[in-house]
Symmetry: C2
C-alpha cells in the first residue's frame, strides 16, 4: 500500500503518503540503458493492460466510474477527459514479465487479465490509504477523497477490489482460481501492512522495533510486488516452487526499494526528490533507517530519540540527520537493501536460470531500485 | 448495505443507519408458527456457517482479527470473549435454503462456503457503511469505528471482502467461479447503492425522484438477498434461468422488506420498533413513502416539502406524518410491498414449483416481510 516509485514523482512540495516516495530521479538520469529497457517494458505493459482496465472501470455505475476515472487520471474532476497519468504500471509489468519469463509470449498474452486485476487492487489500496492517511496529493493531482469526499473514495476503492477479483473469477484460464486466491490473500496482507503503519505512527519512537517496521514494509510494499510476479508464474503454468521463487523475488526487490526510498527520504537531494531536504525527519517518520538508528543502542540513538520526542525544528535538521547516520541507520539500510537485492537475484535465478529469459524481471527490479547505483 | 431486519433490533434510542431499521417486532409476536420455522432455519444456518466464518476471521493478522471478532460480537473491545451476536444470518440462510430447494441436502452441504462468503461480504459493507454514515451503534454495541478508529474499521472491511472472494476462489466446487463473479458484481451494486444513498441525503427533498430511491433500495437491500439465493441455486447446479429466478425472488423480497420497513419507520409503534415515534421523519429521511408522497403532485406533497425544508420540530411531527399519508405515501408503499412480494412468490414458483421444496425460501421471505400481515 505504498504509492511506490512508479506512482508519483512530485516536482515541488506536494504532500505525500507516509511511506510513498519516489524511488528514481526525475532529472533525466533515467535515460540510462537499463532504464530505457525498463521504460519500454512498462510502456508495453501499460498498452496491454489499459483496454481491460478501461473496460473494467467503464462497467462501474456512473458516480463510482467518475471517481475511478479521476483517480486513474483519465478524467478531470468535472468529468472531462484528461491526458491520463495512471502510474507507470510496474505491478502489471511484473505480472507480464513473470509470465513471459516462465511461459513466453503466449503466457504473457494470457496473463493480461491478471495484470489488470493486480493494477485494480493496487489502486483500491491507494484510494483507501489516501483517505486514512489524509494525503491530499497523488500523481500530482488532488486525491480522490479531497475531490469527491471520503464516502465516494471508500466506495470506489471497494468496487475496484470487487472488479479485480471478479475479473479473475470470470477468467476461464486454468490458473485463474489460484491467482484469485493468491491475490485475495495478498489484499489481507496489504491491509495488515497499512494497519501496522497507521498504528506505528501513533506510538512513541522508543516503542517501535526494527522487526515491526521490516514486516510492515514487506507487507505494504513487498507483498503486492511478490504477488504480481507469482501471478505471472501461475499464468505460465509454472510449478509451485517457481511460483514461490518469483513471489520471493518480488518481495525482496520491493523491500530493497523501500529501504533505498527511505534513505533518499533523509539524504536525498531536494533537486532530485522534489521534496524539501529531510522531509521524512521533519515529519518524524519512523522510516527504516530511523528505526534502525533508534534501536542501535548507540549514544547517537539516545540523541535521536530525544530529538524525535520534540516537535520538528528546522534548526535541528542537520543534527537529526547526523544522529541517524552516526547511529548507523544509513549504513544499515544500504546493506539491507543490497542484501535484499542479492536475495531477489538469487530467487530469480532459481526460477529462471537463463538470464535472457529473466531479462524483463531483472530490468524492472533494477528500475525500481535504481538509486542503489 | 442495509443493516436489515436481522441485524439490529434496538431496544432504546440507539443510533441507527439511514436505511437500517427493524423489520420485525421485538415483542414476542415473532413466535408465530411461520416465525418458528424461519427461526429454526436461521439457527441451522448460523450453526452451519459459524465454523467457516470463525476460521476465516481467525486467519486474519492480529489487529484486524480483533476488529472483525468485535464486529461479529465474538469478542469485547478489550479482546475478551463475548457471548456473540453476529446477526441472524438471513443471507447465509438464503444461500443454504436456495441450494436445498434446488439440490437437496447435498447441495446445501456444498454451499456452506458460499454462504460464509455472502455473510463476510455483508459484514464488510456494514463496517464501511457505519464509517461513512457515522453510525455509532450496531447490534446493540458501539460500532467498530467508534472503538478502533476509522482506519482499522475500513481495513477490516477491506479484508473481509478479500476473505469472502478468496474463500470462493479456493473452493473446488464447479460453481465457485460463477459464484465469485456474481458476488463480486453484487459488491459493485452494493457500493453503488450506498453511494446513491449518501448522495441523495445531501440533496433537497424536491430533487429526489421515486425511481432513484427505488433503484437505491434495490441495490442496497435487494441485491445481496438476490445474490444469496442465486448462489444457492448455482451450488445446486441449477440451470441459468433458475439462478436468475432465485435472484429475482430475493431482490423482490428484499425490496418488499425495505418498503415495509420504511412504513414502520414512520407509523411503527415505538413500543415495537424501539425507536421514538416518527424517527425517520425527524431525521428528514428520504425514505420510500416520503419520496412517493413528495412526488405525488398533491397539495399534501407541497405541504410535506415545506415541512421537510425546515429543521425538525417535534410540534410538527403529527402534521408531517399526516402529510405523507394524505399524499398517498403510505398506501403506495403498502401496495408496492404487496406487489413485490407477489413478484417474489411468482419468481420462486417458476424456479421451484413444488411448495414443499420451496418451503425454506418461503419461510425466510415471510420472516423478513412479516409486518405485511
Amino acid at each position: 500500500m505504498t504509492d511506490f516509485v512508479t506512482e508519483t514523482r512530485p516536482h515541488s512540495g506536494e504532500t505525500r503518503g507516509r511511506r510513498g516516495r519516489v524511488g528514481r530521479q526525475g532529472d533525466g538520469r533515467t535515460a540510462a540503458s537499463d532504464g530505457q529497457e525498463a521504460t519500454a517494458i512498462l510502456e508495453d505493459a501499460r498498452a496491454s493492460v489499459d483496454p481491460a482496465l478501461r473496460a473494467a472501470l467503464d462497467s462501474l455505475p456512473g458516480p463510482m466510474r467518475r471517481v475511478a476515472l479521476y483517480h486513474f487520471g483519465w478524467e478531470q474532476a468535472d468529468g472531462t477527459p484528461a491526458a491520463g497519468n495512471a502510474g507507470k504500471a510496474i505491478r502489471p509489468a511484473l505480472v507480464l514479465a513473470g509470465a513471459t519469463a516462465l511461459g513466453g509470449p503466449a503466457a504473457r498474452a494470457a496473463a493480461v487479465r491478471a495484470a489488470t486485476a493486480v493494477e485494480l487492487v493496487h489502486n483500491f489500496t491507494l484510494l483507501h490509504d489516501d483517505v486514512m492517511d489524509r494525503d491530499t496529493t497523488r500523481r500530482h493531482r488532488p486525491t480522490a477523497w479531497t475531490v469527491f469526499g471520503d464516502a465516494d473514495a471508500i466506495l470506489a476503492g471497494d468496487a475496484l477490489q470487487a472488479l479485480a477479483l471478479g475479473l479473475l473469477a470470470e477468467d476461464p484460464h486454468p490458473a485463474s482460481a489460484a491467482a484469485a486466491a493468491r491475490l485475495a490473500a495478498c489484499v489481507v496482507e496489504l491491509c495488515a501492512g497499512q494497519q501496522t503503519d497507521t498504528a506505528l505512527e501513533k506510538r512513541g519512537p522508543a516503542e517501535v522495533t526494527l522487526d515491526e517496521v521490516l514486516v510492515m514494509a514487506e507487507a505494504k510494499t513487498g507483498a503486492l510486488l511478490g504477488c504480481a510476479c507469482a501471478l505471472g508464474a501461475l499464468y505460465a503454468g509454472a510449478p509451485e516452487e517457481d511460483v514461490e521463487a518469483l513471489d520471493a523475488f518480488g518481495r525482496a526487490a520491493g523491500l530493497a526499494f523501500q529501504l533505498i526510498d527511505d534513505v533518499i527520504g533523509i539524504w536525498g537531494d531536494p533537486r532530485h526528490t522534489g521534496k524539501p531536504a529531510g522531509a521524512d525527519l521533519a515529519a518524524r517518520k519512523k522510516s527504516l533507517p530511523v528505526v534502525a538508528a533508534l534501536t542501535s543502542g548507540t549514544p547517537a540513538a539516545a540523541e535521536l530519540a530525544e530529538l524525535y520526542a520534540l516537535p520538528y525544528d528546522a534548526g535541528d535538521l542537520e543534527r537529526t540527520t547526523l544522529a541517524v547516520e552516526r547511529a548507523g541507520g544509513r549504513a544499515w539500510a544500504q546493506e539491507q537493501a543490497a542484501d535484499h537485492m542479492a536475495r531477489a537475484m538469487s530467487e530469480l535465478a532459481r526460477a529462471v536460470p537463463d538470464p535472457e529469459e529473466a531479462g524483463g524481471l531483472l530490468s524492472l527490479a533494477e528500475f525500481v531500485t535504481r538509486r542503489t547505483t
